[in-house]
Symmetry: D2
Subunit: 294 residues, 4 copies
């Protein structure tokens, strides 16, 4: 089938290639003239045959919002827009409403797989009406990994369900990553362990903790078994924050997620204000020495 | 080669089968007459040709300790004892000392893989002297999964390193399991998700969170997509506790491990004393209602 | 001076008494005819001499919002409205805007002290313009405890600062309460401690952990040294949730707050979905027994 | 009465003064000749009239252990030794045993109050036999704050109960301190709060969070309202670690204590190994930038 794809960044370009490799026609638009197939959204729309399917793969927030507003003006009733970016799931309903006012359909799709998705396929979580999901199924099938469809794709629920499921996926990912991180630090801290990186490698087969993330960790440790030059500084993309805020709103205890997220926050602090206070307080009651920065 | 294997429980029997399937001779001893090959430890020792290799696969603590003490009396200098049970790593040095006093060698080996190890092979983490590890390598090779040796086996360091690495492995496992648990609860709590079990299944291929544990989760959810009859009550085997205590001793922050372990503790409480106090306190200062048990 | 006070619940009535005891005139309005001084907001406004000061002491959200909207219609330019309820600080700016459109001034005031405030005075945290705060100072002085003003009152910043400071105050309170709760549980768990309640009582004087909350705890324990009938079930009022969500938004690690809040969430769960998943998963890989509810 | 006091450091000297001010005779021994009253333990014992009471106020571990061993040789049956240092409670039974073998009695006493105890009195938690506790009551009464005895003193249970209660006290203290620390950081992070230090000061009277620790915090903030020069680096004395290890041993969930302790660990790390691993892993799967140290 024919697909319009807006946003040809790292993810978008890879996805376009994978969809084309499956035999579909992809017309891409990006504001970067080096990669775009068309001059503007208007040309993109005019090159697609109605009823059109357009996949938006842009940064969450304003870029996605503005594009969907433009598409609401340009598209025809019966066309379908899929937001495949990392949008917060609460944006899905407003996006759907803006489009529905013009008779245009909407799905939200969480996409997992990172830079490996081009080769391995992408895990897909979709929200929207069943008929719309069915219509875009050839594209979903092109993107998802080989194997049974339900092992790499789910129609998770109505509008927003795709991005909600992706948000939860990323929350789990935060926790998994930090669990390995703590294990690494425990191995490094021990005087009896000679080969922490070798332990991780030995977990690849047979053990309970084997996983794709572990395989990647072993690749990183093969490059540098000590991670000696790596700085602790770790950004967070937003999904983990939204997940924790949703957990709070739903009264769901998520201490592992919170711990993993807080550790990222702390990794970016030079001097923790909380610990400054604790140190100053110890100085007051115990006469303990308070260290000062230079 | 020839191996004496003490302890023919769920794990031991499976391991014996796998080792035999690799062409080795295994003589097993268990106090259960239905499964044992010999009448007692004395017969076991007499049936093995020196220098002997004996694998102890018993519950940690007294059973393992008593057996190693007996072996110290029965074996000859140059024999080798491997503790493959879930012993705390701090038991390894005393075990080694008891045996070394009689010229007997010792390795500690952490074994991961559970009931699936018979088929998939076991992940192995070994501590001890290089010569002893080399000597038992045919047995380790029989037990470990197919593929490159270093992806299912590691000589992690000197005495105790095997059980230390296994302790860390289990600490990671606690964290991984709880990360999935939180994700599950977040999916169940949402009004937009129709199919939480389907989301987990869709994570099996292509996603960042795919893992062997996830595959097992999908099996559990295939049986009961709601887990409706499952009680929250979850034991802990000891490894998680030792890991947290080691973390504290080494000043390693392990909030994910702690959260996962504390959640297990809490899962077994009928009425949390801490929360009783908090509730009683709220009643004092705010005039808030305090609920009472019947 | 003269004050209109809207909301004569548990808090409002006590506050009215304290303000009157300081020599001010308070005209109260409540929809409950048994306690109100006036028939409706219109009569309240007509009974006050301009420029008026009106204190709103209602539940956060719709009740406060609707009342402020009504006051915007009824009051005159130059009048002052103070929101003293437990509103989220993000409501302050919209409230201020609605009133400013009519030339009416606005302050937000966080009030701490609970049922004890009538006697001890209330801790006050105020946001708004300096001139408005100054104008209401006689009321603040009547409400706050005796002693230096700055030890029971702060003009914390512009619009919203009062409720933000109160939100943080409550976040701290959550953490303090849970710290005592954990201490209680540790004392109860020990076989060497004969008198956990006596330990808390002995902390009242001289120790580092003495506090007003501890004094209240001792009162609760004097009534029932075992807290035997108290149920763990503990509600949360909203302030703790907002604080955690703000922390996430500001990238502030708040593990203590999160732990205290999550423990309240958990105290209300019959069967934790996360732990159901963990238990089911253990059954899959280890052949461990999975408990089922009846 | 007459008391031998071993250890005239910061705490010991203050305590000696307070006991003397209550009319008792204190003979102090310290290896520092500038402060000691006697040349050695032998002279200390000879200067006291049997049955003697000797208070040991030394660092936990070897110094206390060695001194108690010496006292076991020097004292007579019927004498009483009190360990008032910060010993782990598990040391109490061995200490008691060493002394009991010679007919010498033993109490363990946790002492709280820091540098302020000289003036305010010390909170005391005592373990041991009732008759021994009664015998030393004049000393306990001299040390504890004024007011009802049970508000600054408890006979918490048998041998070890005093130090266990003190360990729990310090665990609570860790949690309280960190709760304030998080509140501080939340106030500092906000764009609407002009005066974080003023907020803390305003909590001193009337609020739910008022406490002695808060009073000390206000003193620290009076000196430097920004804590601008204070380094986050914060040691931990051991009590918090023991408390967490006991919690784990007793299956008591203590997430607040764990969070406070882990934050101290983290405050002393230059580059968190766990976060190095997380950062390296993100680089592998997402192509995210990995920062490197110089």
């Amino acid at each position: 089938m024919q697909l319009g794809l807006i946003g040809l960044g790292k993810m978008g370009l890879n996805m376009a290639e994978r969809i084309r490799a499956a035999g579909h026609e992809v017309i891409g638009y990006d504001r970067n003239p080096a990669v775009t197939d068309v001059a503007d959204l208007g040309e993109l729309v005019s090159r697609l045959v109605a009823p059109r399917t357009i996949w938006v793969m842009l940064p969450a927030g304003e870029p996605t919002r503005a594009t969907i507003a433009s598409l609401a003006q340009l598209l025809d009733p019966g066309d379908l827009v899929i937001d495949g970016g990392n949008s917060p799931y609460r944006d899905a309903a407003p996006h759907a409403d803006v489009l529905a006012a013009r008779g245009i359909h909407f799905c939200d799709c969480g996409v997992s797989g990172g830079v490996w998705g081009r080769t391995n396929g992408y895990g897909l979580m979709v929200g929207g009406d069943a008929a719309d999901v069915r219509r875009a199924l050839p594209i979903f099938d092109a993107l998802r990994p080989e194997g049974p469809r339900e092992e790499g794709f789910v129609h998770a629920g109505g509008t927003g369900a795709g991005h909600y499921a992706k948000m939860v996926h990323n929350a789990v990912e935060y926790g998994l990553m930090h669990a390995y991180g703590e294990g690494w630090e425990l191995l490094k801290a021990s005087e009896v362990i000679d080969d922490p990186a070798g332990c991780f490698k030995a977990w690849m087969r047979g053990t309970v903790v084997r996983s794709w993330l572990l395989d990647l960790l072993v690749k990183a440790l093969d490059d540098d078994p000590e991670l000696s030059g790596v700085d602790q500084y770790t950004p967070d993309s937003g999904e983990g924050r939204w997940a924790l805020q949703e957990a709070v709103g739903h009264a769901v205890p998520t201490p592992v997620l919170a711990a993993a997220l807080f550790a990222r926050f702390a990794s970016r602090q030079e001097n923790s204000p909380a610990m400054q206070l604790v140190s100053a307080l110890r100085g007051q009651f115990g006469g303990h020495e308070v260290r000062h920065t230079e």
